[in-house]
Symmetry: C2
Amino acid sequence: MALTLTPILGFPIIKEGDCLSTVISTLLPENDICLQDGDILVIAQKIVSKVEGRFVNLNYVQPSSLALAYQPIVQKDPRLIELILKESSSILRVRPGVIIVEHNLGFICANAGIDHSNVACPDDGGEYVLLLPENPDISAQRIREEIYENCAKSIGILIIDSHGRPWRNGTVGVAIGISGLPALMDLRGTKDLFGRVLQITQVATADELAAAASLMMGQASEGTPVIHIRGFPYPLRESGLPELIRPKSQDLFR
Amino acid sequence: MALTLTPILGFPIIKEGDCLSTVISTLLPENDICLQDGDILVIAQKIVSKVEGRFVNLNYVQPSSLALAYQPIVQKDPRLIELILKESSSILRVRPGVIIVEHNLGFICANAGIDHSNVACPDDGGEYVLLLPENPDISAQRIREEIYENCAKSIGILIIDSHGRPWRNGTVGVAIGISGLPALMDLRGTKDLFGRVLQITQVATADELAAAASLMMGQASEGTPVIHIRGFPYPLRESGLPELIRPKSQDLFR
């Protein structure tokens, strides 16, 4: 069976307090998509953050002495540095333009995932940035439950962001919130065509799907923040972001 | 437009000297796929290595003193360690079961991508492993040209492998050979919906597609080593693996 990724067209500009599941449920028929059990919707982090009101007005941020100390190295607005520090549990690298952090959510990323672009600020003259959702797994679960209420279909929900990577150029989509699909597939103990037990143990299926959907969202595309997936090749199950986070003690590149 | 990934079913066991483009061109109609200009074929590294005869019989490998010195740490066959060292230009980390190297091809990976599983050795009692293709970009280009000769369609060819990553559990598919599709899309200078110039500069489109196709290959699946792609959202162009390799001087995690 084929895997099909279909961008949901016609998205309005999303604002704080909008109900994503209602917007999506309305747009699906307009896009000739009839949800089926086992489908997945992949949602860009940005619109989840927006409906959850994760805007911060930099005018109300007071940089700490630590943020001010980093400023000459990072060369960013010290109020933004302050927010990056607050959103993070540890700092891995500091360079001009970038702080690589362990986000409070557990993953490693640049600048705590705080977003300047496409912010569509509240219209009050403030200088707004957008934080990641407070708990994307819970956001995903809520959207999934609401979709079930609207459409009576059991689907998976994946919330994604774009991350840079060590060693390779370019960003790729990665999972930051997961509900109802396997973050990992554990193939330990299965045998290959020649009866040899496989060495590779776990496939990051949610990240592979995140990358696939990211390809169809583009980057400038708040216009296509949701991708419909049909044909995901593994059974859906309960899961969550923590499955994808490698424990610090098992990581060679911290 | 949707992106569709279709596994090509019915693959025979691939051996040294087989012509992949002929095998694929024969299987496409059996899979009800009629190639179109702009389509992409994603091919698992393993079958490319096999047709290119990249088998090595460990019985003929003499471990160097360096390989023997690593053996107590790595706890692998010193002949395999010797091959890993030969395939690599530098070593990043050494731990039980794994050597993280800069492969001669330029990317960072575990154990130089040398494969034990699914090897289908020549039947002479040797202990075989399989190296990566000598130059996957050239392999991709050759297959692309042969497909053009067979089918008169201009397509892209992507050769992929599965890599582990720092910080996150599980492997994901990544590009190791590219011909005729953009490794990166450079969005520098483009503006978002609100006229703000985008901060994210480059998207690793080939790696995102590699991850997507990997999802449909599974891991134990020499049975589905080729995935047909339709609806790739960017114009095809000449490209290659070097676009994806971050220069050592710009890398914070070496």
